[in-house]
């Protein structure tokens, strides 16, 4: 460093600018990452969901047997921890001699697929209605509130049951029915949040800059709702998985011999006092997945908006 460098120190304004930058708080994303790393519920929930997703996606590679393969000589085998269990069938076999573990893996596919797509359909419907009603208010909002009230008055399980029994339980129908029956929660949450954001000065600024309503909805309001939408979606997905299991259990969901957790519980009813593990294993899978989704959803809320925690 020469003398010239020292004497030609940067002007005061630049030094001040550097100071201001030095005191800059960490970015929202960085703060989120830090909170996520120390949130046990979020980490556990995500780990379990990830585990189920891997099982579902790679079921054809991971499953030890074909889930449809019946073997009447190997019916109702004990799980590996039972008196006559073998490692060939870790969770044993059902009344048709099908491998429980393999059916569980393929069942995860079905539960996750139905849960995800139905929650996505419900999300699109509910978010659209909620944001339009909340933003435009007045008569538009009155229509949205009316539709939501009508929806809230519908008994979900009953309607799903009757439609499934009429149409005879195809997966597509199941997804559509569950998607059309669970959007109300999105609409209610998104509508009230949109009403809060609509009057914020940043929306007014955007209006004063000449932005269209569509631009304000998509660029100013929607990005502020994503976290809450993810939280609602996770809860919705858990509910849908439970309803699907319940419908399949009642014989109105997916049809046998499709591997479905609800169906597996139903099929085990006849032998539940002799082979309780046949009910407990798919039941535990439903329980574990639903609780993991709820934990992850709660975690996402805590991680993304700590100010709303209370």
């Amino acid at each position: 460093m020469t003398l010239a460098d020292i004497t030609s120190a940067p002007p005061a304004s630049m030094a001040k600018a550097a100071d201001e930058f030095a005191t800059l708080a960490p970015s929202p994303r960085e703060l989120m990452r830090r909170r996520a790393k120390s949130h046990i519920g979020f980490l556990t929930g995500m780990a379990i969901i990830l585990f189920f997703i891997i099982l579902a996606v790679f079921a054809p590679l991971l499953a030890p047997h074909d889930p449809y393969d019946q073997n009447l000589t190997a019916r109702l085998l004990d799980p590996v921890w039972g008196p006559k269990g073998t490692w060939a069938h870790i969770f044993g076999t059902d009344a048709f001699g099908r491998d429980i573990l393999s059916r569980l893996m393929y069942g995860a596919r079905l539960s996750l697929m139905i849960g995800f797509t139905a929650a996505a359909i419900a999300g699109v419907i509910g978010v659209t209605l909620g944001i339009v009603g909340g933003y435009f208010g007045g008569r538009v909002d009155a229509v949205v509130v009316y539709l939501t009230n009508v929806k809230l008055a519908l008994p979900v399980i009953l309607v799903a049951l009757s439609i499934a029994s009429i149409s005879g339980g195809s997966i597509i129908v199941l997804i559509l029915v569950l998607g059309l029956l669970t959007w109300d929660r999105y609409a209610v949450v998104v509508r009230s949040l949109t009403q809060q954001f609509r009057d914020q000065e940043f929306v007014l600024s955007s209006l004063a800059a000449g932005a269209s309503h569509a631009r304000i909805i998509f660029r100013e309001i929607l990005p502020n709702l994503t976290n809450q939408i993810i939280v609602v979606a996770s809860l919705d997905m858990a509910i849908i998985i439970l309803i699907e299991a319940a419908l399949s259990f009642l014989g109105l969901g997916v049809r046998p011999p499709t591997p479905s957790w609800g169906l597996m519980v139903a099929e085990a009813r006849a032998v539940m006092f002799f082979k309780p593990h046949l009910i407990m294993i798919p039941g535990a899978a439903i329980f574990l997945l639903v609780i993991a989704i709820n934990m992850a959803g709660d975690g996402i809320r805590d991680v993304t908006s700590p100010e709303g925690r209370g």
Binding site: L24, L204, L207, A209
Partner: protein
């Protein structure tokens, strides 16, 4: 209405007889009651001038600013920028001419956008320039308002109140508007930061020859910023004139009461006695005659029945019966 400016240059902003009526409590069963939030306001501002609008909460300042921004449509009246009428035209045309700086820099910046996105957004809305040109303009305007270029990728939550207000000013300036409508731009800031923002606004006015409508209830800020002051009461201007004269020789009893209400740091003086008596009247049932008469210390019998005319005294316009005898 007012002949506040003597030079013959075309005014940048002209507002003529602007009125905005809201219907309150309207339902399909009954008609609403009219609330005249802004009731016949006229003003003229020349290039480079600052007109301050002062008045209590609820007097219609905010509605007036929303009308001048094109965020609400006036019930009657006319707004012209450089002679060009803006009422009823596209909001985008307003946006190029008139831009806002809002009060609360914590809610005026979208928490999900970076500073660069916020400042550059109006350019995208109006489809101005290529991405590279837009970036150059954003950087230039950030420099003008004293924001280091490195903030461009930061989020509002990472910044202080003063820095955020600089971002809001940069966003307002990015389209090179003629008029900035500053709605209490410093009242949400720390006192130490207020001065910085006011100085920035003064510097920008000189550099860019900007015109400000400055809405405030802080009379010391008004004194520092304004060339002209309009005093608003229940939707009307009761006094409008050069800032020095209005603040030193207030003519309307309401202006006098407002000036008396300034708090001083001297603890021995106690709270000022406003002599304003009853609270702010119900704007749904404004008093007959002069709207200020129920609270006025100088009220006369005529005030309760007859609406005062506008009197032009020296270089100030004032609506008050005290000047009935004075030749306008």
């Amino acid at each position: 209405m007012n002949q506040v400016s003597v030079n013959t240059e075309q005014p940048v902003l002209e507002v003529h007889n602007l009125t905005r009526v809201f219907e309150i409590g309207r339902s399909w069963l009954k008609e609403g009651k009219p609330l005249r939030a802004v009731d016949g306001v006229s003003l003229t501002v020349k290039r480079g001038e600052v007109l301050a609008i002062v008045g209590e909460s609820g007097c219609g300042k905010t509605t007036l600013s929303r009308l001048m921004l094109g965020l609400q449509q006036p019930s009657t009246g006319d707004i012209r920028v450089l002679g060009e009428p803006l009422v009823g035209v596209d909001r985008k045309a307003f946006a190029r001419r008139v831009q806002p700086v809002f009060q609360d820099p914590y809610s005026s910046l979208n928490p999900r956008k970076t500073i660069g996105e916020i400042v550059g957004d109006p350019l995208i809305i109006h489809n101005i320039g290529t991405p590279a040109e837009r970036l150059a303009r954003v950087e230039a305007v950030m420099e003008q308002v004293g924001l280091p270029r490195r903030f461009i990728h930061s989020y509002p939550s990472q910044m202080s109140g003063g820095q955020r207000q600089r971002v809001a000013i940069a966003r307002a300036l990015v389209m090179k508007p003629e008029v900035l409508i500053c709605d209490e731009p410093t009242s949400a800031l720390d006192v130490s930061v207020q001065a910085q923002i006011l100085n920035l606004l003064q510097d920008l006015r000189q550099e860019l020859n900007l015109t400000y409508i400055f809405i405030s209830h802080d009379l010391s800020v008004v004194e520092y910023m304004a060339d002209y002051v309009a005093v608003m009461y229940l939707g009307r201007f009761v006094e409008i004139g050069p800032a020095k004269r209005v603040l030193s020789e207030p003519k309307h009893p309401y202006t006098q009461a407002l000036l008396d209400s300034i708090l001083t740091p001297d603890p021995h003086k106690g709270l000022p006695n406003l002599n304003l008596g009853a609270g702010f009247p119900d704007p749904l049932n404004p008093p007959a005659g002069c709207r200020f008469h129920p609270r006025c210390v100088k009220a006369m019998p005529v005030c309760a029945t007859v609406m005062p005319k506008l009197f032009h005294i020296e270089d100030t316009d004032v609506e008050c019966h005290l000047y009935d005898g004075v030749k306008a």
